[in-house]
Amino acid sequence: MIELTINNKKHQLDVSPEMPLLWALRDIIKLTGSKYGCGIGLCGACTVHIDGEATRSCVFPVSAAVGKKITTIEGLSNNADHPLQQAWMNLNVPQCGYCQSGQIMSAASLLDKKPQPSDEDIDQAMAGNLCRCGTYPRIRSAIHQAAKLAREVK
């Protein structure tokens, strides 16, 4: 049995220790907000936070997540009230929406480290998150807006 703490809740899993966290989240715990896109850590659709760090869950074995705090898109906020989620909705960022959980999780990690990121900071931090629909310009605007919203709340 492997014990994981996901979105502040403990889960017991009977899976092989090398199973990537993504499949444990999706197929075992039924949290499907984290998406499969490539399986080799190249697209960012599976991004979750492990102890606050944006992490590609498709290449992160469950054994390595034991004892750590895992946050998925479902646990980012209580009611879509994270500044990024608010900004994302304000600016109509999503198109198909599939990559957006991963985008938001990467952006949240960026804002934790750099509350007022520049365009370059954003381009660098978000370079591992692919979007085939092409929402990039709005993602950038939404991160700036979220940074502003977060400052206003404080």
């Binding site: 092989s16 499949w23 999706r26 998406k35 499969y36 479902e74 198109q95 929406g97 629909c133």
Partner: protein, 770 residues
């Protein structure tokens, strides 16, 4: 495309194959108490308006059968449910079409619920490709909304015992003239449900000025909250009680077969339950499943691990002779004297011989895969009640037919196959080919378990319906004054038609950006070569407009450079006078995206207008920073007019896109924000094509496998995209695809402008400049 109809396959092509659609008539009826309401998933009493769609050869008036394509319903609380019968893949259709209905009906958008339709022929075509949802449904949906509004008005008039003219309907309420009395829609439901449906001719449709939502910005995407909280359900996310997960080892070469296999190691993987050999595929491919060995497991990871341990001896078959690079020579040969002339005006050969100068260049665009962020996925369960499928499909009715074909279910029992459409995590044409639905249904039937088939990224890249690589030869003749006198465009590719008919050889499709070239020249010849086909070829966002526009719009710029004239001015002069181009005069049968040329002419005035608008917005002609260059291209596709200006900088022989401008005339627009987002997306989709897009095969096996060798554009590579939507009274045209074709040529024209280097082959990565 009509050839698909001719050869008897599912009519389903992005150009707009459903020729019957344009002849459809609609009749609106009050269907509140009709039996099929349950089937449509709208429970309870209330007002239901159905639009009946039928073909002219089966007039509705003479038919008792009712085949609604969209419904409005309202419950006793006044909540309006609008059915979306088109698939949502990022284009915003689940927001835009219901918005049109809600506006016309005078709903409060916050009291509208959108419900996704099952796949069912009663809706008319649900085939969501060809950029035609708004084009085809704009007026019908306005009528549906107006019908509901009129009935609510009549109902309120009955309550107040006044004439309907004394009642105004506004924002979910009826208001009585000359008083402060109002009635909420919820108070009118039961009365309205008993009223006869007003005559269509008596309906008063709202004017553009009266619209409260249509044409306005800041309309929120209907699924936004579910998306940003990770709660939206895509095909990949479907979970059923007791469901198993499957990945399939498919034949590496199209029409290859399993000679023998050993699954003993696979079956030792914890979680693997079963291995199933799939039936092999023979030509034509159509939308059928590819065959191979399926691994079924308790979770996706176990299935993937199990697949890796399969030992399969493949019979690759004759397509293993194919090598993409070697085949270039066949393409080049095929263009020496192409047998098909698809447009012919004046006498090109004579013009060329009489010319003072002739310039000729060859263009090449590589093969492309869709690379939808969500790979194909389908979940099926087979029970005594029939077949239930949950999947990300652009075309639920084709999915239904696939399921029926796998299960040998006769047409009369179609209703026993229920296709539930999830959100689509990108589609771009891939998800209108439901081969993956057949796989899920086959495995669900074999195992008698609910089964989800998941395609990995490798599967998606290596077993696609590819945009074909193409070769194109362009020539222009000039008289002694340097005036252009003739245009020649030859094109060859592996035709999409070969996916449906193995004997199809003629390159396709000239109708998408090759024959409809808008330059006003005296002599024009457009030809197609012939080719064999070795892979599944399909349509990808804007289809052959991608390569046709790349060649034609690049070449127009080359003509401008040759003539020493500003590129924008030269384009305008090439297009010439205001006119509706009549291709029939040039011995050309033009399909015009299956729209009438009366409603959707090739209008050169609109084409020139988007050029002028984009040039103005981009500050065309202004002095540029050192190392910068600008390029322009204009292209009509899906009956919309799009001009693009790209500004680039070149540093150390590397290109950086600095600015992108679009001007779009798509006729009337419902949701400007989603038009803008489609253009933003088109710029980025096209950047991927221009920079990186290249699928190649060796021995018939695709050489790319994931995002490391089939790269996509990243966030830093495309800046803000400036989009100007032309205000227009013309009928609504396509939006999802038309932003793609002009981008790559505008980009390469800009690179030429900046560097003096002309790139005639895509992708650009082969030149080391990206």
């Amino acid at each position: 495309m009509n050839f698909l109809n001719k050869i008897g396959v599912i009519p389903n092509e992005t150009e707009g194959s459903l020729s019957h659609e344009s002849k459809e008539t609609s009749v609106i009826k009050n269907i509140s108490r009709r039996g099929f309401i349950k089937g449509a998933g709208l429970a309870g009493s209330g007002l239901l308006i159905g639009i009946q769609v039928s073909c002219t050869n089966n007039p509705v008036e003479n038919s008792d059968e009712f085949s609604p394509d969209v419904f409005i319903s309202m419950d006793k609380e006044g909540t309006v449910t609008i059915i979306s019968h088109r698939s949502e893949m990022g284009q915003g259709i689940r927001s835009s079409l219901p918005l049109l209905v809600a506006d016309e009906m005078e709903c409060d958008w916050d009291r509208v619920v959108v419900k996704q339709a099952l796949g069912d022929a009663k809706y008319g075509s649900q085939n969501t490709d060809g950029s035609r949802s708004v084009r085809r449904f704009y007026y019908r949906l306005k009528q549906a909304g107006a019908t509901a509004r009129t009935m609510l008005q009549t109902a309120a008039a009955q309550v107040w015992t006044v004439k309907p003219e004394q009642v105004t309907i506004y924002n979910h309420q009826a208001k009585l003239a000359g008083s402060s009395q109002t009635l909420d829609f919820s108070k009118l439901v039961e009365i309205a449900a008993k009223l006869p449906v007003p005559d269509k001719g008596s309906l008063k449709l709202k004017t553009e000025a009266e619209h409260r939502y249509v044409g306005k910005d800041n309309i929120k995407i209907i699924d936004a909250k579910e998306i940003v909280t990770g709660k939206a359900t895509y095909g990949y996310d479907v979970e059923l009680e007791g469901m198993k997960y499957s990945v399939i080892a498919r034949p590496p070469v199209l029409f290859g077969k399993v000679k023998s296999y050993d699954a003993s190691e696979t079956l030792k993987v914890p979680g693997v339950i079963k291995v199933v050999e799939m039936p092999p595929l023979s030509a034509p491919a159509v939308f059928n499943m590819l065959g191979g060995i399926a691994v079924i497991a308790d979770n996706t990871w176990a299935a993937i691990q199990g697949r890796e341990k399969l030992v399969i001896d493949w019979e690759h078959g004759k397509n293993s002779s194919y090598n993409t690079r070697d085949y270039e020579n066949n393409f080049i040969k095929a263009l020496e004297n192409p047998p098909h002339t698809v447009r012919n005006r004046g006498d090109w050969d004579k013009a060329r011989q009489a010319a003072d100068q002739v310039i000729s260049h060859d263009y090449h665009v590589a093969g492309l895969a869709h690379a939808t962020m969500e790979p194909p996925a389908a979940t099926a369960i087979v029970t005594n009640d029939g077949v239930d499928v949950w999947t990300c499909t652009q075309t639920p009715q084709s999915a239904q037919q696939n399921a029926m074909s796998v299960m040998d279910i006769p047409k009369r029992k179609a209703s026993s196959v229920r296709i539930n459409v999830t959100l689509l995590g990108g589609a771009f044409g891939r998800k209108s080919k439901p081969d993956y639905v057949s796989e899920a249904v086959y495995l669900a039937n074999e195992t008698k378990l609910p089964v989800k088939v998941l395609w990995t990224r490798e599967d998606e890249i290596q077993h696609g319906y590819y945009h074909s690589p193409s070769y194109q030869k362009l020539s222009a003749s000039f008289d002694k004054n340097g005036k252009p006198t003739g245009w020649y465009h030859g094109m060859v590719n592996h035709p999409i038609a070969a996916t449906f008919n193995p004997d199809a050889k003629q390159a396709g499709s000239a109708n998408l950006g090759q024959v409809d070239m808008p330059y006003d020249l005296a002599n024009i010849k457009v030809t197609n070569g012939e080719s064999d086909t070795f892979m599944r070829i399909g349509w990808i966002r804007s289809v052959t407009n991608i390569n046709n526009a790349f060649a034609a719009c690049s070449f127009a710029d080359e003509m401008a450079v040759h003539s020493g004239v500003d590129s924008k001015d030269y384009l305008l002069s090439l297009i010439g006078k205001d006119q509706h181009i009549d291709l029939s005069k040039d011995k050309c049968k033009y399909s015009n995206y299956d729209e009438s040329l009366d409603d959707f002419p090739i209008d050169t005035a609109r084409l020139k207008n988007v050029i002028n608008v984009v040039a103005k917005n981009a500050g065309w002609g202004n002095k540029l920073a050192k190392g910068h260059g600008v390029g322009i291209a204009v292209h009509r596709s899906f009956c919309s007019y799009v001009a693009t200006v790209v500004e680039v900088s070149m540093n150390n022989n590397k290109v950086q896109i600095e600015k992108v401008y679009y001007a779009v005339d798509a006729g009337k627009v419902i949701n400007p924000d989603r038009v803008r987002s489609q253009m933003e997306g088109a710029a980025i989709f096209s950047t991927s094509i221009a920079y990186y897009g290249e699928i190649t095969a060796d021995k018939g096996i695709v050489e790319q496998s994931n995002f490391h060798d089939y790269q996509l554009a990243k966030i830093g590579q495309v800046p803000e995209v400036n989009v100007d939507i032309i205000s227009s009274e013309h009928p609504p045209a396509g939006v999802g695809e038309p932003g793609v074709p002009p981008f790559a040529p505008a980009l390469c024209n800009a690179i030429y402008n900046a560097s003096g280097k002309r790139y005639r082959r895509l992708p650009l990565k082969q030149f080391g400049i990206v």
